[in-house]
């Protein structure tokens, strides 16, 4: 049974059009610097203002499906934290998030000379979201027990003085799902911890009420947010991955708007022809 989308020829030409709209800009020389939105700037300032005696928790809840958006966000945030020497901890409620985070951090640790255990730690994958978050408010080392390799947290200097929610300067949730709501409801809210979120763009509209009420201090809107954050960390002419990919994303948007308008025009024309005969 044909799993394609109706008549083949039109469908395959549409797919090729998209592939072209994405691939051609890969080889373009010029890159258009993004306009930095108010939410991305707010998250940048929130990270900047975390004092040295506090730790930033970077919770990575994504799996392979959304690395296209969540990985550039994670990379941009880690670049900033390592550049300004902020202490941070990676964790996640999806088994794969912390694994991707670990690899990116190791790659960037060489670039910014921030050794593991001294500037950053990986607490690894946790299940039972609600109970873990509630337990973390009181006793983070007790809840985490060991890092992702099994080394007791007491042995890692980055964890010195980190006991409970009061020692967390900022929690940033990089997520493709509504897990940020659990972080807000069971950790950031009750623990009185500032919270930022880096969602896939799908979730962005839901989050504006929480920005308005101050429950969330800053946000990266999908890949566009990652590109904007990169231009904040590296300056306007940065050529990081987020910014280079956004040129292709721009082309796809033009293609889609054109197709929607074209599709409707042809539909109206066809309907008029039908009523005319």
């Amino acid at each position: 049974m044909e799993a394609g989308l109706g008549s083949d020829r039109t469908r395959r030409t549409l797919y090729l059009l998209l592939a072209a709209a994405i691939a051609l800009p890969f080889f373009a020389k010029t890159v258009i610097p993004p306009v930095v939105g108010r939410e991305a700037r707010a998250l940048y300032e929130a990270v900047e203002s975390v004092p040295p005696n506090k730790i930033i928790v970077l919770s990575l809840e994504f799996e392979a499906g959304t690395i296209g958006e969540n990985l550039p966000q994670t990379r941009a945030l880690m670049n900033h934290m390592m550049k300004s020497g902020k202490r941070f901890a990676i964790m996640g409620f999806d088994p794969m998030g912390p694994v991707f985070g670990q690899r990116e951090a190791e790659d960037l640790a060489k670039r910014w000379n921030r050794p593991y255990g001294k500037y950053w730690v990986n607490w690894g994958y946790k299940t039972a979201v609600v109970q873990t978050l509630k337990a973390m408010i009181r006793d983070i080392p007790g809840t985490m027990v060991t890092d992702h390799r099994g080394t007791p947290l007491s042995k890692l200097p980055v964890m010195d003085g980190i006991k409970d929610a009061k020692d967390v300067g900022l929690i940033i949730d990089v997520t493709p799902s509504a897990l940020y709501e659990a972080w807000m409801a069971y950790f950031a809210g009750p623990g009185g911890v500032k919270m930022g979120v880096a969602p896939t763009a799908v979730m962005v509209s839901d989050i504006f009420p929480y920005l308005d009420s101050g429950q969330i201090v800053g946000m990266l809107k999908g890949l566009a947010g990652a590109a904007q954050y990169e231009s904040l960390v590296f300056g306007r002419d940065a050529r990081e991955r987020g910014i280079t990919w956004m040129t292709s994303v721009s082309m796809t948007h033009i293609l889609i708007i054109a197709l929607i308008i074209l599709g409707n025009i042809l539909e109206i024309a066809a309907r008029r022809r039908r009523t005319a005969t």
């Binding site: 306009v35 392979a64 039972a128 337990a135 509209s205 308005d212 566009a224 040129t247 721009s250 889609i256």
Partner: protein
């Protein structure tokens, strides 16, 4: 005295005996409960659900200091009530129960996939792919985990990753698993393109309003929209609102925010209602009602 006997850690054969004792006691208790008449069993389920719900509810509702010794000299105000210190252990217990339950789904998948394999029905090679994928990832994953268990230095970790098991694991995880997962998601972009041309019709005024808003938000997100389309409008004037990123910003922060907030208030009352029904086992109908 008896309590300290119970809570003293045990090792070696003593540990084995105590664990065996625990299993026997647990089995005895469940056997005894099994003899209860169906009405009593149903009441037991209702009671367990109620007590479980009451724990978190009371822990949240009781003000700090309830049934707690007053703070000693020099100590800050008490911030917990007498239930607060049980929150963590309950969390760990739930984690273990949830992890044990994962096997349930695997059994079902194995059941569904074993039929074509055993009877050699068409599509048996797919079920074979399923079982090979499952067993190989499980074995290689656990084997590599075992090797990494007592690794602390980066050099040791590098050695394990370079070993055959480490490379085989990267072949399965990075090569197959991550790419398969990532690409399934990328299909969506292609589906959207064909849907844009063929499915997104402006059937009604509402759909048109939705689409115009979508165009503004889309153009506001991408550099091409902000730079070329309305980049020429200068900032700082009343009409600079017409810049795509400002219009998109306003749409997201005012109408979208207000509508989403109204939805939130609806969901808030919905969650209260359904939590009450589950907690008090009022939830009649389908799953909860049949005889035991």
């Amino acid at each position: 005295m008896f309590l300290s006997f119970l809570t003293a850690p045990r090792h070696g054969t003593q540990l084995f005996l105590f664990v065996l004792g625990a299993v026997l006691v647990f089995a005895a208790v469940m056997a005894a409960l099994h003899t209860l008449p169906p009405r009593a069993k149903r009441w037991l389920i209702v009671a367990c659900t109620f007590v479980a719900g009451l724990f978190y509810l009371l822990e949240f509702m009781l003000p700090p200091g309830t049934l707690m010794p007053p703070p000693g000299p020099g100590e800050g105000p008490v911030t917990d009530n007498f239930l607060s210190r049980y929150v963590e252990p309950v969390g760990y217990v739930t984690q273990i129960i949830a992890a044990v339950a994962i096997g349930l789904g695997v059994i079902n998948l194995a059941r569904v996939n074993s039929a074509p394999l055993l009877r050699f029905r068409p599509g048996w090679q797919n079920s074979l792919a399923f079982f090979t994928g499952l067993i190989v990832m499980l074995v290689v994953g656990l084997w590599r985990w075992k090797l990494l268990l007592n690794v602390t230095t980066v050099a040791q970790e590098k050695a394990v990753n370079e070993s055959t098991i480490g490379s085989l694991y990267r072949f399965l995880f990075d090569g197959l698993y991550s790419n398969l997962g990532g690409t399934v998601f990328a299909l969506l972009a292609f589906y959207i393109v064909s849907a844009s041309y063929r499915a997104f019709r402006l059937r009604s005024a509402e759909a048109t309003l939705m689409m115009i808003t979508a165009f503004i938000v889309m153009l506001g997100n991408v550099p091409v929209g902000t730079a070329y389309l309305t980049g020429w409008i200068p900032d700082g004037h009343w009409y600079s609102f017409l810049k795509v990123e400002h219009m998109s910003d306003w749409i997201m922060n005012t109408p979208n925010m207000a509508a989403q907030r109204a939805l939130i208030f609806g969901i808030m009352m919905g969650v209260i209602a359904v939590s009450l029904r589950i907690w008090l086992s009022l939830e009649r109908g389908r799953f909860f009602e049949q005889e035991l």
